[in-house]
């Protein structure tokens, strides 16, 4: 059976529309400001060709935010995505960065054997 997962559209911030996984929205709305949330954020595709020694705009933006917020992150330059472990306050700032296209939870679940 096809599952329809309606995605929320956040903002018209900057005239852009970004899709946030409802599970992440729920975690954000329910978690205390300092509660840790694991998330994955995708940015507008810069293309694999854009990858090199130079950091992309999104990567620089995440790096800059991590200087002032407790953000543990790993950027995937070839995919244009970042995995983060941070609090809900900082995550909201990350989601408001330019070029964010989608975001989802970094799966809480354990894998069954």
């Amino acid at each position: 059976m096809r599952k329809k997962r309606a995605k929320r559209v956040v903002g018209p911030a900057g005239g852009r529309r970004r899709k946030i996984d409802p599970r992440l929205q729920q975690a954000l709305s329910r978690a205390a400001a300092d509660a840790t949330i694991d998330a994955v954020i995708m940015f507008r595709d810069q293309g694999k060709g854009a990858v090199g020694t130079k950091k992309s705009g999104p990567e620089k933006a995440v790096e800059q935010l991590a200087r002032t917020e407790p953000i543990e992150y790993n950027f995937f330059p070839n995919l244009g995505a970042v995995a983060v472990r941070t609090n809900s306050r900082a995550l909201k700032k990350l989601l408001d960065l330019p070029d964010v296209t989608t975001a989802t939870v970094n799966e809480l679940s354990r894998e069954s054997p």
């Binding site: 995605k7 975690a27 694991d38 595709d45 790993n74 989608t102």
Partner: protein
């Protein structure tokens, strides 16, 4: 509220229970009483097994579930996570400390519907013969020089059939960072089986692998939670290494768009995404196999019938509405077992590596072929399957030799 394909299809699902945040939902006592609303996993799976009289939930799985699948509470997030059936979900929702509860998607390897001990008794497995793979070998095509991405439960690097087949092996942490040291191993037995079907070499003259000249970049991605980042780490690694084929016998039950954007990017980077469609039968499928633009693989038996468990589904969308795209051998597939020897498994997970191996053979011959050209060639050269709706098997049973002629 989102509905899990797993609850409606399998009768149970992983359930996320959100505790109330006004003080009523917190504390150890509440966590304990919420957990008590979840059915005992062993009983849950045993009841289902008895009621459905199916082999889909094996006895060994039921035993392991008792130890591993008990609900757990994440106090920082105010969430309890565990398996429940419809009755359990109702109980959880009515708990005074719970604000909301619903089935959650779970990314997992697509469990085989049957696992059995097996011995190789013939030179070639039936799948190799049915796909006429030895004919391509006779032309000198073994997948030599082709790297295949294999994201699964890992693999037993010491198995004789996988000797020399590993270009690299990796694992990732919760943020998708590659661990500095990782030695090939299998956290279950699934990955060893699928890896050897892709590129296992002959042992004592007996073959299980489609492309024994190809090499694997094999990643263990579905162990330890935080699977989204681990999968991203694996795919990033494959893209960085210019891998042209990714074989993933894993997926979320139902349509789960978490990886949709990501898969689009893989395709734009000319990577052939070979994904299993799932084992829940007609009118079901798994993501990412059910995304448009992927090569979704169903399972066929040695009589050219689509297996009853093989998923298939029509989607109301303009591009690529019907899944799977093709079928490949996925019933009674004999391949490597961790620790040595072989075992037989049924599942679309077993069909998927046949497809990935076949693509490796073609890429050796035609390295300039694009991912789209490969998909088109395979789909246009299939053996027709008769006596069942086309939706069940897509274009039909792949025939690599004929596909090569179209490139």
């Amino acid at each position: 509220m989102a509905q899990s394909g797993s609850l409606s299809v399998s009768g149970y699902s992983l359930v996320l229970a959100f505790h109330r945040t006004d003080g009523v939902g917190g504390g150890a006592a509440v966590a304990t009483s919420v957990k008590a609303c979840f059915p005992n996993p062993a009983k849950l799976f045993m009841d289902l097994r008895t009621a459905r009289a199916t082999k889909a939930v094996s006895a060994s799985y039921v035993k392991r579930a008792a130890a591993a699948d008990a609900p757990i509470t994440y106090p920082n997030l105010g969430i309890t996570l565990g398996y429940a059936d419809a009755g359990g979900l109702k109980r959880i929702k009515s708990h005074p400390g719970i604000a909301a509860a619903y089935p959650a998607p779970l990314l997992q390897h697509i469990r085989p519907v049957r696992v059995a001990a097996a011995k190789l008794t013939q030179k070639y497995t039936w799948g190799l013969k049915r796909l006429n793979v030895p004919k391509l070998w006779a032309q000198g095509l073994t997948g030599n020089g082709v790297l295949v991405g294999h994201l699964d439960t890992g693999m037993d690097g010491k198995h004789p059939a996988l000797k020399g087949r590993i270009e690299d092996f990796a694992e990732w942490d919760f943020l998708g960072r590659k661990k500095p040291t990782a030695s090939p191993h299998d956290s279950a037995d699934h990955g060893t089986h699928t890896a050897a079907t892709i590129c296992g070499v002959a042992v004592k003259g007996q073959h299980v692998g489609v492309a024994p000249g190809a090499k694997l970049l094999s990643g263990l991605v579905i162990e330890g939670g935080n699977t989204t980042a681990r999968i991203l780490g694996g795919l990033e690694w494959l893209v960085a290494n210019d891998v042209r084929i990714v074989s993933m016998s894993l997926g979320y039950p139902g349509y789960e768009p978490v990886f949709l954007e990501l898969v689009k990017r893989l395709i734009s980077r000319n990577m052939l995404p070979v994904f299993a469609i799932g084992n829940e039968g007609p009118n079901t499928s798994r993501s990412p196999g059910n995304y448009p633009g992927t090569l979704a693989i169903g399972a066929v038996d040695d009589s050219d019938h689509t297996a009853a468990f093989s998923g298939s589904q029509h989607f109301k969308r303009k591009g690529d509405p019907d899944k799977p795209d093709v079928v490949a051998p996925g019933v009674d597939v004999i391949s490597a077992k961790p620790g040595g020897g072989y075992q037989s498994m049924d599942g679309t997970s077993m069909a998927t590596p046949h497809m990935a191996g076949a693509a490796a053979l073609l890429l050796e011959a035609k390295p300039q072929a694009t991912a789209q050209q490969l998909m088109d060639a395979f789909e246009k050269s299939c053996d027709a399957i008769t006596g069942e709706p086309a939706l069940r098997h897509g274009a039909g049973l792949i025939q690599p030799e004929r596909a090569l002629a179209l490139l």
